[in-house]
């Protein structure tokens, strides 16, 4: 009997946290132990299947933070604790944690781009000695879009945290402006030895990379996480391919020096 890689496993929803009006975090009971930055394929029978990053994980459970944008994600948002959904994975190559050991690390995340790096940030929160220093640069459209508010407050106690929203908003006294405006502050001295992770919408990643490079971060020290349409997650359906690279297999995390040659 051949094992069927498309067969998902049922996972019970332990709890649901409403991060914003459109983003919910689902904690699922599962034995899956993902690497940082990997994703799973999530499905509801008769509705559909989609790739979703693991936004947090501990032995016995994983969390997925899912934005309501269409057919499947609408249905997912109707589910309640105790309901089942179906997952297979984990898939893809995540962040090369060893390359960040004892280094200064900057993580720049835009919007839902925070989900794929949250697990890594939480890991460093528990093992703060593993990197020399961690700076977080996070941007959201409005204060209402901010994800993981409790985590962010927690992270402030150990890391340098810079949280910004795109435009002035009533009741918001924090930073205002795009992430790119704050790259200079995040980089600081001795930038050439720092490691940088950038995750967000395509244009955000493009311009933020350029900005880090401008402030002397070598291209070799930057990593990005890609999003593409994916129908299988295992290198068969072809939707995620760029040149001779399958984003679901060789990514979603890529070194910048690889990513810059991935032209769609």
């Amino acid at each position: 009997m051949i094992t069927n890689p498309y067969l998902p496993q049922p996972a019970e929803i332990i709890s649901i946290t409403k991060e914003t009006t459109t983003d919910y975090t689902f904690r699922l009971k599962t034995d899956i132990q993902p690497d940082f930055g990997q994703f799973v394929e999530v499905s509801i029978p008769k509705v559909g299947e989609a790739p979703i990053s693991v936004s947090n994980a501990q032995p016995g459970w994983i969390e997925l933070t899912i934005r309501r944008v269409g057919h499947l994600t609408n249905e997912l948002h109707e589910l309640k604790p105790g309901d089942l959904l179906f997952i297979r994975g984990p898939y893809g190559k995540g962040f090369p944690k060893e390359q960040y050991r004892d280094k200064s690390l900057i993580i720049a995340a835009g919007g839902t781009g925070l989900a794929p790096v949250r697990n890594l940030i939480n890991y460093y929160y528990q093992h703060p000695g593993e990197v020399r220093q961690l700076s977080l640069l996070m941007g959201f459209k409005t204060p209402e879009d901010i994800l993981f508010k409790e985590d962010i407050e927690k992270w402030r106690s150990k890391f340098q945290v810079l949280l910004t929203v795109d435009k002035e908003s009533p009741g918001w006294s924090g930073h205002v402006g795009l992430i790119t405006n704050f790259v200079k502050d995040a980089v600081g001295e001795n930038s050439s030895a720092s490691r940088v992770i950038i995750v967000g919408p395509p244009l955000m990643m493009k311009f933020t990379s350029q900005e880090f490079i401008k402030y002397n971060i070598p291209e070799e020290n930057i990593w990005l996480s890609f999003e593409r349409k994916m129908c299988c997650g295992i290198g068969k359906c072809g939707h995620c391919r760029i040149n001779d690279t399958y984003v679901c297999l060789e990514g979603p995390v890529f070194p910048y020096i690889t990513a810059k040659n991935l032209l769609d």
């Binding site: 029978p45 008769k46 068969k236 001779d244 297999l249």
Partner: protein, 334 residues
């Protein structure tokens, strides 16, 4: 080593084979072709040699016998995933050398790309044996000699139709079906050696070619219908589809269906992002895969030169002309 049989004798062999295998091959359907008065040659089950259509190219390749256009992956009842209980019968598929070489490309993708084997593909593939028949002549738009896929090895049997006779080269395990006939020492399989069309796949292709104005002509002409992909023996892309049954909403299935990189929606993602919005960019994506990207990953070109993409394009876009033109562009730019 060959058996030289008459059609009637080979029919006897086919009847023996039918005890153990179902036979699948190109068959002619009257008046179902691209133009209403033309016939369509398509893959179907055959009972005897007279069903097998070897004169003319099939519109679709033998690919569908192991990678069907629509395939059910799971049946759903409430919250249960049930794999289709199907034990495919052992089959023999009759096909041409280009299409047999295409199967190698499918194998690389479905069995070897990434760490997982595609179970659905493997299940059909394992039960499938290939009888390759030589082409007596080259058909319209064929350029298999240029891609080196006019020849093949590793088949379960090879056939050359020679007027009244057929030269047959079965592999060892299939020789027992030829019991009672005599083997001739001197004959070798004959492959087609010339096409009307020759192409020279350019060396030195790279991403540098991506924004060349060369692709703009296709932006104007291609209507993004996807026929080139669906008829291609080496295209493997698919999309997942979940459905529920109209008469019982609690039951349904998950299918995979053939997808085309030339058709809108191939790269669409939530939030309105998509890539390669222009048909010219999609053409570039397809062409680069067939004659560059696939080979970078798997060490052989994807395109097997069957010319079907040209046969079916409603806009008369020619893949072989595209490659030849590209050669000129690369030569000029380097």
């Amino acid at each position: 080593m060959a058996y030289i049989l008459t059609h009637a004798e080979f029919d006897t062999v086919l009847q023996r084979l039918k005890q153990d295998y179902i036979l699948i091959g190109p068959v002619r359907k009257k008046n179902k072709g691209k133009f209403s008065d033309a016939d369509l040659i398509t893959y179907g089950q055959i009972e005897s040699l007279s069903d097998l259509e070897t004169n003319g190219k099939s519109q679709f390749s033998a690919k569908e016998t192991i990678f069907p256009p629509s395939q059910t992956l799971f049946y759903f009842t409430e919250d249960e995933y049930r794999e289709p209980k199907f034990e495919p019968q052992k089959r023999i598929v009759f096909l041409r050398a280009c299409d047999f070489n295409a199967i190698k490309r499918l194998d690389l993708l479905f069995l070897e790309n990434g760490q997982f084997v595609d179970a659905y593909y493997k299940r059909l593939r394992e039960k499938t044996h290939f009888f390759v028949f030589g082409c007596e002549k080259s058909y319209e738009n064929c350029f298999c000699v240029s891609t080196g896929t006019n020849q093949c090895e590793g088949y379960d049997a090879f056939l050359n139709f020679k007027g009244e006779k057929i030269n047959l080269f079965p592999s060892e395990p299939f020789k027992r079906y030829f019991a009672g006939y005599e083997e001739n020492e001197d004959i070798l399989p004959q492959f087609i050696e010339r096409n009307h069309i020759q192409v020279d796949i350019p060396e030195g292709l790279s991403t540098k070619i991506y924004d060349h104005p060369y692709w703009d002509q296709y932006g104007k002409r291609c209507i993004g219908c996807g026929r080139c992909n669906f008829s291609c023996p080496t295209c493997t892309c698919f999309t997942m589809q979940d459905i529920f049954y109209r008469d019982n909403k609690n039951a349904g299935e998950r299918r995979r269906v053939w997808a085309s990189c030339q058709v809108d929606g191939f790269t669409d993602m939530a939030g309105g992002h998509s890539y390669r919005k222009q048909q010219g960019e999609r053409m570039r994506f397809k062409v680069m895969h067939k004659i560059h990207d696939f080979a970078k990953r798997f060490n052989m070109h994807m395109c097997v030169g069957c010319g079907r993409c040209d046969d079916v394009c409603p806009e008369y876009i020619s893949f072989s002309q595209c490659i030849s033109g590209l050669k000129g562009v690369v030569a000029h730019d380097n």
